[in-house]
Symmetry: C2
Subunit: 353 residues, 2 copies
């Protein structure tokens, strides 16, 4: 970890690249200076592809009637206006894939990097100064654009080296949600009952494998998933003890199903992980967790007030965590899971190529 003190801290965060409004951090800024020349403490990356956040890409595709040429122009316009690929409508970014051209010494040591390494950003694109020379193929199926350009990384921006032994698209998909499995591992204990809501999604599958690896055969893993196809993927992985197909936005109905699936045994979890990608699933999660249990909300659709007031309203003292996307392992846990679980890797390859 770099230390954050004084003017160093400001440079570490990239405040010197903010054009407007002054005094904000790069992510909150409207416009960044994207001059493609590395200043002291900065690292310069040749960018090959942008993996645009799903909410942002969907919005752009819709605004441009899925016309690739219009979409390219739209993306170029955003980057030239803001100096970063930060969709002003959705407020979201995505990640980039690139190669290190110029390397800050401290940053290189922190992350074990060398010039020429291929990397994936683990900071949102809404944070990184981006300069595009050209925009080439656009892949509507996986929210990706091939580009020629450069990005600036600050010392505080996390990233991951692309491994050689795993398919690139699977790696990018796994890194996008790597915080969930990474942060679940230290919280889970053998002997616990652990429930994962949204278990068949990318984050859910990784989390299930991480949990099984952590607790072995000591404890019980309950997987809740809405989509039938995704639930079949969970089943085929063979890492969950109880599978429930149900809708987490329908709290009461879901609880009945989980209770039935547990057939008279205790059904409330010691630890619940919410990785559902739709809103209004807070109460289901709380009701499926023991009053003295713990919940990790990883879904970006989580409402702070719904969770806080929901627990209060039903008199549950449960401990609730905001799933922090940053992981000190820079995604290593998630990538190792793809190696350790061949069935997981197969599902990722099928889904993402």
């Amino acid at each position: 970890m770099p230390s954050f003190v004084g003017a160093d801290m400001l440079r570490t965060l990239g405040i010197h690249r903010v054009i407007e409004p002054q005094g904000t951090l790069p992510q909150a800024a409207w416009k960044l200076d994207n001059t493609p020349v590395a200043q002291p403490s900065e690292t310069l990356v040749d960018v090959q592809a942008l993996h645009i956040d799903s909410a942002s890409f969907t919005q752009i595709a819709s605004a441009c009637n899925r016309d690739p040429e219009r979409m390219k122009k739209h993306i170029l316009d955003i980057v030239s206006q803001r100096g970063k690929m930060h969709n002003p409508t959705t407020g979201s970014g995505g990640v980039l894939i690139g190669t290190i051209r110029q390397l800050d010494e401290i940053y290189g040591k922190t992350h074990g990097l060398a010039i020429g390494d291929t990397i994936v950003s683990l900071t949102s694109l809404s944070w990184l100064p981006l300069y595009l020379e050209s925009l080439d193929d656009i892949h509507l199926d996986r929210s990706e654009v091939e580009v020629t350009g450069t990005a600036i990384f600050f010392r505080s921006n996390p990233l991951a080296k692309l491994p050689n032994d795993l398919p690139r698209n699977s790696v990018v998909a796994a890194l996008d949600v790597a915080g969930a499995p990474s942060r679940v591992v230290p919280l889970a204990q053998p002997g616990q009952r652990i429930t994962v809501l949204g278990a068949g999604g990318t984050a859910g599958l990784l989390t299930l494998c991480a949990l099984r690896q952590r607790i072995g055969s000591h404890g019980e893993i309950i997987a809740v998933e809405y989509n039938e196809q995704a639930l079949q993927d969970v089943d085929s992985l063979n890492v969950a003890d109880v599978l429930v197909q149900g809708n987490a936005t329908q709290a009461l109905e879901l609880i009945e199903k989980v209770r039935d699936a547990c057939a008279g045994r205790e059904y409330q979890a010691d630890l619940a992980i919410n990785v559902v990608n739709v809103p209004h699933t807070e109460l289901s999660t709380i009701l499926l967790t023991k009053p003295d249990g713990r919940i990790l909300f990883f879904s970006m659709a989580t409402s702070f007030t719904a969770a806080a007031l929901g627990a209060e309203g039903i008199a549950r003292p449960v401990e609730m965590h905001i799933g922090n996307g940053y992981m000190p392992d820079n995604g290593a846990v998630a990538l190792q899971l793809l190696r350790d679980f061949p069935l997981l890797r197969a599902i990722f390859t099928r889904r993402f190529g």
Copy 2:
């Protein structure tokens, strides 16, 4: 705790009062049936006052230019639209003061209640069917509205009897935010550096006293407050070691101030408590906390995504908790602080009467 099983659980939670959307719990519902007649398992309360959540009251005051008549109309409109005082903009509620008119037997036994007892709800108003006959005086200084009306309590809704030895308004103000001091105590450890943002507010002052009582002279308490008057109250309490006047929405400026106030010593907290009542204070809180520290967000103005993506963007693995308003002590910790700290009680009496 009542036990939650089957159809009983549904009634216990109040699901039978939900008008829309069907299948949701009362807090998540857009609209409740507020018919002022107690059904089996319900308790009917004559309501004398609404003590509206600070984030909600501030929003309403701002939307109505602090004009009392417009604010009254705004509040009546919300209640007539939703059957509860659930601010659709902030998503938050508040508490009510009332007298038991009709008492469910099981509820009465759980809480030691009798008809005629004066009580304060410890469930958010966003959960309770509320029927207003009239809306009388509005007290801008203490976020309170005197009303004539009735509310329905379900068996799962926590409440507190009003004690005789403390001023009513002070008790209500303390109970409204009692979750903060109650939940902070088990998390704080002697020897820690603990920062409270919004330290001069109601929740802040209680939290400071709870922390000082918990850690004694072992550790350091940093109090951050924007308002000069409120900061003087913090000063007069003599429970904080470092006082900083600053704006938590201006992260970089605030960090400079806290660092200056700590004069070269470490300034980042092991534990930070956010009880600020305005949005956009997540990054300040994260930057004032050690990377391996812990944050308790109690402000209803907290944005889940701003916290999660903010920590990710600056590579901080900090553990962030959603402040759960429910406390098994039903507010006893907060009320005892008013007894233990005469200076605190004096500030509350001055502020709230």
